[in-house]
């Protein structure tokens, strides 16, 4: 795969979130680029992280869905 640029994958929306996902080729290897369309916040997931996601047991991601964990963290 050629280095640079992004190949569009698509937009996913629910009533709770809207994200655009694409394959980012700016680095030495491809990454999945996830953009929160409501805020512009961008995150990346590399192939090993994605493979790990595929193997996560039920509910393992739910720990990260606690709003206080990162995005709306209490100051204290």
């Amino acid at each position: 795969m050629a280095r640079g640029g992004r190949s569009g994958v698509g937009e996913l929306s629910s009533e709770f979130a809207s994200v655009h996902v694409s394959i980012d080729l700016e680095g030495n290897g491809p990454r999945l680029r996830v953009e929160d369309l409501r805020t512009g916040q961008v995150g990346f997931l590399d192939p090993l992280e994605l493979e790990t996601l595929a193997w996560l047991p039920e509910g393992a991601l739910h720990r990260f869905l606690d709003p206080s964990l990162h995005r709306w963290r209490a100051e204290s």
């Binding site: 629910s14 709770f16 039920e58 869905l65 606690d66 709003p67 964990l69 209490a74 100051e75």
Partner: protein, 421 residues
């Protein structure tokens, strides 16, 4: 649980051959019905085919209660109350979606699709995370399925679903037997018809064999349908009390007399050859023919699911004088040619420009206005009392136009509401 109008004299309002008009208009009676019927007995909520994939969800209801029907990643189906445990906002608003978690739009409280509270923003305001364990979404305590139909009961204990359905299980068995895969799907989408009438006007009408020749004469005429004749004085069809408030118009005696496969559907096998071939391959030619002659059930499952041959109606009371009727076409899994026709017929009868439900709705609203009149105070449901009889299976039956179903509904209603059985 709120107290239930103990002063209401059910035995004096419901007699074997007549019922009092206040049963359709009194807000106290409606409130008591919610507690004693809708929040106690088994109520149809949805079908497994509406949440086919892990993390699918759809919005449903049990009477006025907003319910989320979700399928978790393990495949288990949950009935959750659509109310944030913080300040009571609706957690979900889209009619359907796919999400392992739901985030309330008001303050961001986030729940798993099994109802567990995953967290809330700025948790120092709650002195940590202790609340998480105790503020999961409310849930319908008992959930059970029969032939893929999902029911919920707000009662922690009580009869099982199969005990509640009793003889009405046969209606579901007959329905899925018409599918070449043995499964039905409710994937055609739902129409919602709101009408200004008490929910029991609808419940009683679904198996009322006396009205079709009057109320539905126009659609029978336009469609050149012979169905109207089956609800006449010379018909060999019967109406039946299936017990537990479930009632039936059984047209099979007429269909068997006519002996025409798919005659009940107004078509012929050569019009849906793939479907007929599939059914014959599954059941054998002889049994398939019998099934296609007998047709699909016309059964009102108390209190809210009307299996109307090729379509389903779900009754949702929203106020003492307001009811929403949710309608969808039955779809047989793996039978596209038959499904297309069932969808077309459903659109023609209950769609936005359909005749059938519009005619019924007009009657419901006229009924609700009429019952406001002060005199007479009673509605008469005596038709056919003198010719009630037991069939071979011990069920009470009457002639096609008799009011056996209405009497059966009120008898069960009285037992649930606290009157003498």
């Amino acid at each position: 649980m709120p107290s239930v109008a103990p002063h209401l004299p059910w035995d004096e309002l419901i007699e074997p051959g007549r019922v009092h008009g206040s049963l359709y208009t009194d807000p106290d009676i409606y409130a008591a019905e919610l507690e004693r019927i809708w929040y106690r007995t088994w109520v149809f909520v949805g079908h497994v085919s509406e949440v086919p994939e892990p993390n699918d969800y759809v919005l449903k209801s049990i009477g006025p209660q907003p319910v989320i029907m979700s399928r978790d990643r393990q495949g288990e189906i949950h009935l959750l109350l659509n109310r944030c445990t913080h300040r009571a906002n609706l957690v979900c608003d889209a009619p359907k979606g796919n999400s392992s978690a739901f985030r309330c739009p008001y303050h961001g409280w986030t729940f798993s699709n099994t109802g567990k509270l995953l967290g809330y923003p700025f948790n120092s305001g709650y002195d940590g995370t202790a609340l998480k364990a105790e503020l999961g979404l409310g849930r319908v305590p008992r959930v059970a399925q029969y032939q893929g139909f999902v029911f919920g009961s707000f009662a922690e204990e009580g009869p099982t679903l199969e005990e509640h359905l009793g003889a009405a299980t046969d209606a579901f068995d007959r329905l899925v037997r018409l599918s070449p895969t043995g499964e039905v799907e409710l994937t055609a989408g739902w129409l919602q018809h709101k009408c200004k009438a008490n929910w029991k006007m609808l419940l009683e009408n679904e198996t009322d064999g006396y009205h079709p020749q009057f109320v539905h004469s126009s659609i029978f005429s336009v469609a050149s349908s012979g169905i109207g004749d089956l609800y006449g004085d010379k018909s060999t069809a019967v109406c039946r009390d299936l017990g537990n408030g479930h009632t039936e118009n059984d047209l099979r005696p007429e269909f068997r007399r006519m002996d025409q496969p798919l005659g009940w559907f107004g078509t012929k096998p050569e019009k849906v050859p793939d479907y007929v071939a599939q059914l014959e391959a599954k059941l054998g030619a002889e049994t398939a023919r019998e099934v296609l002659v007998d047709g699909s059930p016309h059964v009102m499952v108390f209190p809210n699911l009307f299996i109307a041959e090729i379509q389903l109606f779900v009754i949702q009371p929203t106020a003492v004088d307001e009811t929403v009727q949710h309608v969808t076409a039955v779809q047989y899994k793996g039978a596209p040619d038959m499904n297309r026709r069932m969808l077309q017929q459903t659109i023609g009868s209950v769609g936005p420009a359909g005749f059938l439900l519009a005619d019924d709705s007009e009657m419901y609203e006229r009924n609700q206005r009429g019952v406001q009149a002060r005199s007479p105070e009673w509605l008469t449901i005596r038709r056919g009392m003198h010719r009630e009889r037991e069939d071979a299976d011990g069920f009470t039956v009457g002639d096609a136009t008799d009011e056996v179903p209405q009497r059966a509904i009120w008898k069960h209603y009285r037992s649930l509401m606290g009157g003498a059985a």
